[in-house]
Amino acid sequence: MTDTHVFMVVFQIADAREPDEYAVRLYGDGGVEEVMLAGPDSAGVFEVEFERVDRSFPAAVLSAVRDLERVFPEATILRVEPDDLVTIAAIAERVGRSHESVRLLVRGERGPGGFPAPAGKLDAKTQAWRWAEVAQWFETYIGPVPGAEHAAFLAAVNDILDLRRLAGDAIDTPDIAQAMASLLPEQLTVAARAAV
């Protein structure tokens, strides 16, 4: 069974300022189908919107990341969206409720209480939550959330992309590398061994 999956992959090519060269590579021969390129912004960050037919959402996302790495080997893949960190406004949009209704749920002034703790703040006034935790809370106490079944997968993929980006700075000795690798979930270490 196949479905159409819509998502966005964000990547950075630090010295990119105009889209033309990258659009030609993405849309031309040897490029990628069913995509639209957005950006770059002043930091060389692009977004590519995918509308991809595949057997599952994870399969679609992982093949999309591989395709982008093939077309833009110089790029750093930053994350896949819908992203894991959400504000009250983003939560309201994703669950189809008003801003005020979500605010009351968060504060426990409506609903069952026990809303997940925020992951941090984006600025002085704006708190952010992990979508994977928020979606699970909604599914448990309020009802089904469209697209929420992918929240845990997206959070895991984005954490791996972060890890790839930071590993060079964070891991400086083989001891540390080994100790950190022992923290990886067993499914990944087994799969990584099989891939060698």
Partner: protein
Amino acid sequence: MRARHPNKEIEAALRDAEGQGFTVLTGRAHWGILRCPGGPDEHCQSRSISGTPRNPSTHARQIRRFVTKCPHK
């Protein structure tokens, strides 16, 4: 008058976008760029429009989705 997009469906999506304040810049190697109506401080990332997408309907739908989601119009 800007150059028309060779695909009718995409051209229609671009015209609707222009009707809502978006700007189409043409004459690029890949065809053109669609810019949201936001100002220099706050705007969506501009979309690169392909002149020859393999699936024009998808490209047109992506343009319409971009216009719908843009908070600056």
